[in-house]
Amino acid sequence: VEDETNQLFRASLAGYSAPDKRPWRLESQFWAAFFGGPVAAGALAWVNAGRLRLSRARRIAVLSIAAASLVLQAVGAAALAVADTASAIGDSDWRVLGLTVQGGGAVAHPFLHRVQRTGDRIFRLVRSEADYVSLWRPGFLTVLGGAPIGIAVAWIAANVAEP
């Protein structure tokens, strides 16, 4: 017990410096996740995890959640293809693939939010709401890059399930 107490009274902030780059709001990441799918959501959360200085375990969790959501999205696309949902609802196959991408992103977001939450709250403890950086440009670019990848994965899964 005495050793633990001594450890607590040992200086641990000597090399501390504030993070160089400001993070994005977690709530704003939802829009990029919804329109860009799991790839966009995972990419943004990964970069933001670095800005929030999250631990290695949490960064791996970000990648795992994005990968699991992408797999879930592919399974969903395959299931919808087998059930011929596009014909049932009178919509195009591409629209259904797009919905699976949006669904994958929406499913990934709460988990990615949770992984980043502690780091985000520490940031809020130190800085103010105005210190977040805008997600407009990176969010838009991530959607442009992530959505086609998500649709490609869904298309491959759908064609493997229902050639």
Binding site: L8, Y16, A18, E27, F34
Partner: protein, 223 residues
């Protein structure tokens, strides 16, 4: 407030006449400057007071608070550790040190310090503050809206509107959709406007909030 200070406030006029060799006078000066968010000057006043009495706990706590606000966490830690060397069982100091290391993301250490502080005085306001802040940082709060983020609310609203359309209540769905759009617009527009015209009311400075606890440390020191 001090003789070298370029800005003198009405409160500073009275504080300026306090005796230079009295650490309590420097404490008042430093506390006033902290309240005015003039942290560089507050730290200077606290150091001047500590030159008179290097073992003055409230001044040390105030100095650490000002240094924290200035972003110099390493220096704030040195000050805090010096104070804790003088009073290792001071719950107020332990609670504040926990919050200091939590700012740097060292939550394990913060948890250990809060446990120590609870052992010293579980009902001290600074201990309660540190404990609740730590619980909040670790996500041990029960506000599901915050836990799920805006996405949960958005998904819930969209699902409800789609469900109303699917069961044939188109008018109710349209009403819900309009109400939802109004609420979204309100939540986007009003908070930034409030922040712009009324200032950020969500925060509260570490130094200023620490002032209440300083009197506790002061009383403990005197006893």
């Amino acid at each position: 407030v001090t003789s070298s200070s370029p800005r003198v406030t009405p409160a500073g006029h009275e504080l300026r006449d306090l005796p230079e060799a009295d650490p309590e006078a420097w404490f008042l000066r430093s506390a006033a400057l902290c309240a005015l968010e003039r942290y560089t000057e507050a730290a200077g006043a606290a150091r001047a007071g500590l030159a008179c009495d290097p073992r003055h706990l409230p001044l040390l706590a105030l100095l650490a608070g000002a240094e924290t606000e200035l972003g110099d966490l390493a220096r704030a830690e040195r000050t805090m550790l010096w104070a804790l060397e003088l009073a290792p069982d001071d719950a107020c100091l332990l609670g504040r040190y926990a919050l200091l290391v939590a700012r740097a993301g060292q939550l394990d250490k913060a948890r250990g310090l809060v446990a120590l502080a609870e052992r010293a005085d579980p009902d001290h306001v600074e201990v309660l503050r540190a404990r609740s802040m730590l619980a909040y940082l670790e996500g041990r709060d029960k506000q599901w809206v915050i836990t799920g983020g805006a996405g949960s609310i958005w998904l819930g609203a969209v699902t409800a509107i789609i469900a109303l359309v699917e069961v044939g209540h188109t008018a109710a769905a349209a009403g819900a959709a309009c109400a939802w759009i109004v609420w979204v617009a309100y939540s986007w527009i009003v908070p930034p406007l409030l922040r712009r015209y009324r200032g950020d009311v969500t925060g509260g400075s570490y130094c200023a909030s620490a002032l209440a606890g300083s009197s506790g440390a002061s009383a403990q020191r005197r006893s």
